[in-house]
């Protein structure tokens, strides 16, 4: 259901990695060293169903990810998964929201064109009539110091 990335979409030089996603699905990704700065004053918003399948994205999400809205809706949220992100971060995310709590963390996301962008993400469960019906994530601009700290931390966790 989630396709490999295509080298044709990548801007400039790139490396290759194979991610093993939830349910043992593998995905070949191509990524470059190009960072896209987080746009000032904006929030990047998405919602998923209970399984992390994207159901809603806002315009900033579309602009930053490099995908069209139609390419995102119905896809697992791991479509943005960058190989530099340690899987423990996402395990912590899921454990936290399954427990009806709020998760916050710094995330490096992979764009369709192979470039990346850092966000500070907050994920919460959407509770309706006492039941979790989905999840919402809202990202804001992270500070450079926090990004640098996260780079150090995550590289020690992915080695």
């Amino acid at each position: 259901m989630i396709n490999d990335m295509s080298p044709d979409d990548i801007d400039g030089e790139y490396k290759e990695a194979t991610l093993i996603l939830y349910g043992n699905i593998t995905r070949k990704v191509f990524f470059s060293d190009r960072e896209i700065p987080y746009p000032d004053g904006k929030l990047i918003v998405s919602r998923t169903d209970l399984d992390g399948i994207i159901t809603h994205v806002n315009k900033s999400f579309v602009d930053m990810s490099g995908y069209e809205e139609a390419e995102l809706i119905g896809m697992p949220h791991s479509i943005l998964r960058h190989p530099d992100m340690p899987s423990v971060a996402f395990k912590d995310l899921w454990d936290t929201v399954h427990g009806s709590r709020k998760w916050q963390g710094f995330v490096k996301n992979l764009r369709k064109d192979g470039a990346y962008y850092w966000v500070k993400a907050t994920v919460i469960p959407n509770i309706r009539k006492g039941k979790i019906v989905g999840y919402t994530s809202v990202r804001r601009k992270p500070s450079r110091t926090k990004v640098d700290e996260s780079i150090r931390l995550y590289s020690s966790l992915t080695e």
Partner: protein, 250 residues
Amino acid sequence: MPNIFTVSPDFTPSHLSGWYIFNTWLQRATNEPIRLTLYDNFFNQRQAIEEDVIDLIYANPYDAAMLVRDKNFQPLVKPEGGHDEAILVVNVDSQVQDVADLKTYSIVAVTDDPDVTMMGMIMLEAGDLDNNNVRFLPCMNYVLVAKQLIQGNANVGIFLAEAFDDMSNFVKKQLRVLVRGQIGIIHHSLMMGSKLQEKHDQIQRILLDMNNNDKGRKVLESLGFEQWLVVDDEEMEFMIDLMDTLVTGD
């Protein structure tokens, strides 16, 4: 007992008479006794909500969660084009070109508008500033925020975009926009309490129909927008979820 209607204390002062006109209009249109009661500040208004005094409210998004989840309020409508956005502003001569240039313990001039301050603080977070390492300079209104910046008493100010944009050129020339928020999802809404519950759909229809006659259009004009748009329960829940991700503390 009339229904008590109140308006979020951050309303633009020039719309004060508009809210009284709207109250009179709504009373006639719905055939319900409605009395507009205004509060000086958010604290007093929240206390009235807490004591179940309020039946109808033009609410700040910051209070929406409490109104819906603790007090069983239901959304009715929002003004067209009426998103709340915040801007960070500095003195025109300030050395600060980016939020990252602001130092810890910077002085931040703010009003008591809860949603605007929250959105402004989110923009400051990109410069490692937060509630624990800034000094707030509380101001009664945005004119005073501007004044504190111009006089050099604050390093940065948080404005409601609309309030900043409406300032005179003379004032704006002495200031510089550092970051302009473009969130586009957070808005005030007209909401009603459980006492009026049975009339929800009827009142909502009346409001949505307002721009279809001369009298209604005039009333809307005095409030500064052209029409009401529907806010259903799920849109309100979505906004509350969003606010939830933005409030600091945990």
